[in-house]
Subunit: 409 residues, 2 copies
C-alpha cells in the first residue's frame, strides 16, 4: 500500500481530518500576543464612546460657517472650553462654538471642528472662522472604531500587537485563548546522539528535536521532547503511545531507512489511520501522516533540511487545523540570479536568499543537500519548480514563498 | 527650535546615535528562539564529522564502475556492511564495495555511493553495479555543512528555528545572547483611564501601553509599564527619570496637545539631547526622539494607529541599534484596488490588506483615521504615497511594506 499525494492533496486532507482543540484558558492582554483566540471578539460598547475632535480647534455647526473666508469670517460666540477627559457638558447653543483640544469630547449639536490655524480670536468671546468645514470634518464619531455587536476579531486569530491595541480599546483585558497544542517530538535513528554530546565517527547530533521544538513554538504551540529512540519498532511504538497519551500531536523524525519508515507506517495503522505515505515533492517525499484519536502523527524525513521544510508547510497546516485558523504564507516575486535544474518527476522546492537592488528583489538559490542545515540559515524563503519543468533559468521571475510569514485568511 | 527630518534622515540618525547593549546572558537552545546573538558563532568542528551516504546503497570507488551498464554491470566484492552510527572501519579494499544505509559513514577510499536501485546482488558476495556514479555522488563530505573557523551565524542575529537547528548540529547547546532591552512605556493624557476601567464621557481607555508592550516583545525586547501620567511637566519628568534609571529606552506616548509635546521636548533637552522634533510624514509627524546617557527617548503620537505605525519603523530601528542588528522590512508588489488621494506636503503612509487572486496580490487601502485602531487589524502592511504625488489610482502597482516581516541584512 503506497499512498503518495501531491502537496495540494496532502494539505486538503489535513484541513479535512483535523479539528480545533476544545481546551481554552483566560489570559491577560499582557501575555496574549502570539496566542490564538478561542472565540469571536464582539464589541459590547462604542469606541470611542463620544464624538471626539482630531485637532485643536473650535467645535461648531458646519452650517454656521458655510461660505466664510479670510475676508469675511463667520463670527461665533465662544461659550466655553472642554478640557481633555471632561464631559462635553450642555449642547452647543445657537451661533456659538466651544474650544476643544485634540481628543476632547464635542458637545451635542456640534458636527465639525475648525482648526485653530483657520480661526481668529477677536477677544470679547468672539471667534472668527476663516475657512469653512464640512459636516464630520476633523472629528471621529462615536462608534467610528467599533460599535456594539461588531465582530472585531474572529476565533482562530493569532494575536498581534495591533490586535492587543484593539482589545485594549474595547476594555477586553482578559481573553479566552486556545490552550497551546502540546506537540510530542521523537527523534529516531541509531546514529543519533543528543546535541550536547560529542559524536563518535559514524554518529551525528540530534538536530531535529530542538529545531522542531523551536518551530512548534513559532507556530504558537508547545513542544515536549521524547528524546532519541533506537530504530526498533517495539520501542518506537511504546514511546509514541506515551506521546499520544500526553500530547495533541506527535512528530517522529528520522528513521530514514526504509525499515523504520515502514515501522512508523505499521504502528500508525495499528493505532489509527494512515492518511498518506509520501508526498510527490523534493525534498519531503518520505513524509507520513496518520491520525489516532483525532491527533495528527507525522513521520518526518530525518534530514534536518527536509524535516524543517516539510514542517513549514504540513505541520504548520496541522497546527492551523488544531487552532481552527487558516493561514497562507506570503509570497513575493523575485528575479532568479542563477539557473536551477530539475527533472525528478516531482515538484522540486529549493531555498533562496533575497537581495534588494534598485527596488527589485533578486533571489539566489541555496545550493544545499537535504542533509545540511547551516546553509539554509541564509534562506529567506523557498520556491517551487513544477513537476513538468526542467528547471528555471537565471533571469526568470519566480514566486518566493516567505518563511515564517503568514496571512490569516 | 523645530527639527523636522525626513523618514530616511530620522532612520540614519537612529543608526548613528545608538549602540549595542553590553549586557548578555547564556541561554540553552530550548529557550533561544527569538533571542539575539551577542557574538559570532564560529564552528569548532566539522559537520558532518565524516563522509556520509545520502542513499541506501554501496559505497565504492567511482572509477571502478565507469562505463558500466545494465548489460555489462561492474562487478565488485561486497566486503561488509556499515550500520547506522557505526565507525566505517577499515579503508575500502581494491575492487570492493561496502553496503551503507542512508546516513551511514563511508569507509576511507570510497568516493561515491551507488543506489541499491541500480545494483544487483548476484549472491556469493558479488554486487553488480548497473549505472555508473560520478565521484561525490550520493554523499555528503565531511565538513560540507560547516568546518572549523566558519562563521555560521553573526552577532546581532535574531535566532529562528533553522538557526536553532544549525546550532544543535554544531553542539552549541548554550549560546550567549544580548539581555533583552528593557523598554519603559509611559502613557500621558488627562483623558486616559486604564484599559480595564470603563471610561466616562470624555475619557478613553489607554490603548498604547499594552499595544506598545506587545510590539516591544515582538521586536525581541521586554516592556515595563509606568502607567498613565497626567499632562503635567513636573510629574512627567519624574516618571521619565525613574524609567531612564531602570530601563534601556523610554517611550512616551500621548500628550497630543501642543503643550505636552513641548514639555516632552523640554524635559529631553534638560536630561540629554533632543535629536529631532518631528518627521515629515503622515501619520507620525509629531514624533520626538532624544537621547540621555545613550538611551533612546521617544515621544510618540497619542493616536494608537499613529503610535503603532511610527513604532513599526522608528522604535524598531532603535531596537535594532540596541541589539547591533540591521534589518529591513520585506516588501511585495500589489495592485491597488481603490484610489487614494494625498496632498499634505509630506510623505503619506496608509495601511492596506492583501488578497490573492490568480497569483496576483491586490491591496485594498484601509480607510482609517489615525485615532482608530480596530480598522488597522485587517492591514497586512502599509504603503507610501510620496510627498510630490497627488495620490495613487486604482490599478496602480504599489510596493507594500509587510508588517512584522524583517530581513536581517
Amino acid at each position: 500500500m503506497l499512498l503518495v499525494l501531491t502537496p495540494g492533496e496532502a494539505l486538503g486532507l489535513i484541513k479535512e481530518k483535523f479539528h480545533p482543540l476544545k481546551r481554552r484558558e483566560q489570559v491577560s492582554l499582557a501575555h496574549a500576543v502570539g496566542r490564538v483566540l478561542a472565540e469571536d471578539i464582539t464589541a459590547s460598547e462604542y469606541v470611542p464612546g463620544f464624538d471626539r475632535s482630531t485637532v485643536d480647534g473650535y467645535a461648531l455647526r458646519a452650517e454656521d460657517c458655510f461660505g466664510c473666508s479670510e475676508s469675511i469670517p463667520a463670527l461665533l460666540s465662544l461659550s466655553r472650553s472642554v478640557a481633555m477627559g471632561e464631559d462635553a457638558g450642555a449642547p452647543l447653543e445657537t451661533d456659538c462654538c466651544v474650544y476643544v483640544p485634540t481628543g476632547a469630547a464635542l458637545p451635542s449639536g456640534a458636527n465639525a471642528v475648525a482648526m485653530v490655524e483657520y480661526c481668529e480670536d477677536f477677544g470679547d468671546n468672539t471667534i472668527g472662522i476663516t475657512k469653512s468645514v464640512a459636516p464630520g470634518e476633523n472629528l471621529i464619531f462615536k462608534g467610528d472604531d467599533v460599535y456594539p455587536g461588531k465582530v472585531v476579531l474572529p476565533a482562530g486569530r493569532m494575536l498581534s500587537a495591533k490586535d492587543i491595541g484593539s482589545l485594549a480599546a474595547m476594555g477586553k483585558t482578559n481573553v479566552s485563548v486556545i490552550t497551546k497544542p502540546l506537540v510530542g517530538i521523537i527523534s529516531t535513528g541509531d546514529e543519533l546522539v543528543p546535541a550536547d554530546e560529542t559524536p563518535s565517527e559514524g554518529q551525528v547530533r540530534d538536530i531535529n528535536s530542538l529545531m522542531l521544538a523551536a518551530l512548534i513554538e513559532q507556530f504558537g504551540g508547545k513542544a515536549k521532547l521524547y528524546g532519541i529512540v533506537r530504530d526498533e519498532e517495539a520501542i518506537l511504538e511504546e514511546v509514541l503511545e506515551k506521546a499520544l497519551g500526553e500530547c495533541d500531536c506527535a512528530l517522529i523524525s528520522g528513521g530514514s531507512s526504509v525499515g523504520t519508515k515502514d515501522a512508523t507506517g505499521r504502528i500508525i495503522e495499528r493505532r489509527g489511520e494512515l492518511l498518506f505515505h509520501g508526498i510527490a515533492m523534493k525534498p519531503g517525499k518520505p513524509t507520513i501522516l496518520g491520525v489516532s484519536g483525532g491527533k495528527p502523527i507525522f513521520g518526518l524525513p530525518g534530514h534536518p533540511g527536509a524535516a524543517w521544510f516539510v514542517s513549514q508547510i504540513f505541520v504548520r497546516a496541522a497546527m492551523d487545523a488544531l487552532f481552527g485558523r487558516e493561514s497562507r504564507p506570503l509570497t513575493l516575486r523575485a528575479i532568479l540570479t542563477e539557473s536551477v535544474s530539475a527533472n525528478h518527476g516531482r515538484a522540486q522546492y529549493g531555498g533562496a536568499s533575497l537581495a534588494l537592488r534598485d527596488g527589485i528583489w533578486y533571489a539566489t538559490p541555496i545550493r544545499s543537500k537535504s542533509g545540511l542545515i547551516s546553509s539554509l540559515c541564509s534562506a529567506d524563503g523557498f520556491f517551487c519548480i513544477p513537476r513538468d519543468s526542467e528547471g528555471c533559468a537565471a533571469g526568470d521571475e519566480i514566486e518566493l514563498i516567505l518563511y515564517n510569514t503568514y496571512q490569516e485568511v
